[in-house]
Symmetry: C2
Subunit: 326 residues, 2 copies
């Protein structure tokens, strides 16, 4: 096992961040989690908090002073804090700019001030808009952005790349499909389970249900990121940016997902479709990333999409507090 590294995880109390923190601690590393608990949950840190190698700093990525101070002494940054819900960009246009673009700039500047050069970043398939090539490789054509969320994620990617070029940073950009699994806090499985708890007789589905989407289990996502960052320790002083698409090498239709969720819950509701190709403005009806680049490194997902959906249903049923909290 390599020497322990002190990782700084923004959004460390979030869905992905808390799962990553648990994995880093299990590998013998130190973790400083930074979170403002706007969507992060203290419950997600129960396991991490039992470790002496874990420290939580409550703070906002827009609070430059606090962010810089918290990062002091860390070796590598996982920047996961974000407005992660794509759907409400048009209701709050400033949110993606502030919490994603400006926040990422703040993280990069805090790193520079602290002499930290390594960053892994949670970008998104949404940063590619509605790509003309599916499955979509890392070097697909310049996207036409269709959501403020996707646009902000690409803006973040651009700043990270520029810091790699200009300041010798070492950047890992991961464009994810939607994640599933323990601590899953929003998205269609969340909505469907919550709706069915309220009224098991009917289920309203945004769009025509034919949207094709790929998903990835959060554990598989964590393993992929750590796998790539581990490869780095074998190389000498790498710098520059690397982009990886993370997802399952398959996709499902929303209506199939709805059927599996209903079956798992033992329900047979009336399915009602709002109609149209897209669930909302900016919804990409076909999200399917070409993941051959990450597969070629030796990583592969351990969960199929169906397994991930069923795990997520089981976790939500066992943790109704999250469904009720929102």
């Amino acid at each position: 096992m390599p020497a322990p590294v002190r990782y700084f995880v923004t959004g460390g109390a979030g869905f992905l961040g808390s799962n990553l923190a648990d994995a880093l601690l299990a590998q013998g590393h130190e973790v400083v989690a930074y979170d403002n608990f706007s969507t992060g949950q203290r419950e997600f840190l129960e396991q991490a908090s039992r470790s002496d190698a874990f420290r939580l700093v409550e703070g906002d990525v827009l609070d430059v002073q606090r962010l810089g101070a918290a990062m002091k002494g860390c070796d590598f940054v996982f920047h996961l804090a974000a407005n992660a819900d794509i759907r409400f960009g048009l209701e709050h246009p400033r949110r993606d700019l502030e919490q994603n673009t400006i926040a990422t700039f703040n993280v990069l500047e805090a790193m520079r001030n602290n002499g930290i050069r390594g960053i892994a970043f949670s970008s998104s398939a949404a940063a590619l808009g509605e790509p003309s090539i599916v499955p979509t490789p890392e070097d697909c054509p310049v996207p036409v952005q269709t959501s403020l969320y996707g646009a902000s994620k690409m803006a973040c990617e651009g700043m990270i790349s520029s810091y790699c070029e200009g300041f010798g940073f070492e950047g890992y950009v991961f464009r994810f499909v939607s994640l599933l699994g323990d601590r899953y806090p929003h998205g269609h499985v969340f909505d469907f389970v919550r709706e069915l708890r309220r009224d098991p007789s009917r289920l309203r589905i945004l769009g025509d249900g034919r949207q094709r989407k790929s998903y990835l289990h959060v554990q598989d996502c964590v393993e992929a990121m750590l796998h790539v960052v581990r490869l780095r320790t074998a190389r000498e002083a790498p710098h520059g940016v690397q982009v990886y698409h993370l997802g399952c090498p398959e996709y499902v239709e929303v209506k199939d997902s709805a059927r599996w969720i209903c079956e798992r819950l033992g329900l047979d509701p009336q399915l009602e479709y709002s109609g149209g190709q897209r669930g909302w403005v900016g919804d990409n009806p076909f999200v399917y990333l070409d993941v051959s680049k990450i597969l070629a490194t030796g990583w592969k997902p351990r969960h199929t999409i169906k397994q991930s959906i069923l795990c997520t249903v089981d976790w939500l049923v066992a943790n109704p507090w999250l469904l009720e909290r929102r």
Copy 2:
């Protein structure tokens, strides 16, 4: 001639903005120029100011209130205000974020608040980093950004696209090569002419002089933008974003440009090269856009690159105040 339109031009006292304002006024339109005079020049507006159809509002694009009030009653926005000098991003990393990304968000929000849907935006070849395909078409692979300036321009493009998708905006994104011509305020011709005025015996050239670059005369650029925006009047309620590459269908080497400049000035200095493929960190050694899309609309440049360089030298020699001011 179509009915007069009231155009709002951010950066209206700048190199491109003031030339555009003159052209719009000559076509019988109204112009509201908005500029903070950080790099804009009152002298550039001498001609425009003689027109009753011209109004200048002194203000900053970061001043949301003033921007929104100034835009009231306008029909279409040319958003040209920017930190336009790519070279100093690493010295002032916040500048491109603020003056380009956040400023563009402010412009989009001011438009939304004023019920204005049409925007033309001055993006840049630099938003494509160092493209793998040269000449570079509009739909080249997702760029790896190499400058904060380029990253910020792509961030702006993304927000504009998202506003087109989400709010029914009509966007025209123009990715320019470097512009030349009357009122040219910075860049290699400016530096060379200024240096040679100080010391005609030697000329220091950044890089090895083999950098290959395309350029475009500012008048040709203005005509291209107006040509595309005019096409719009023939269509019914267009929306969505269109991207055009603007440049000459040729390129020159920096050392050739240096030679032409010296010849035009009647000088024969010692040429000193700083060496290396790039003039500065983030300098793309081969800037050459594929302009077939804009050529197919019927526009074509009226100046070769050599003609543009010579015009620029002549204008700078006739306007030494600008060389001395900086």
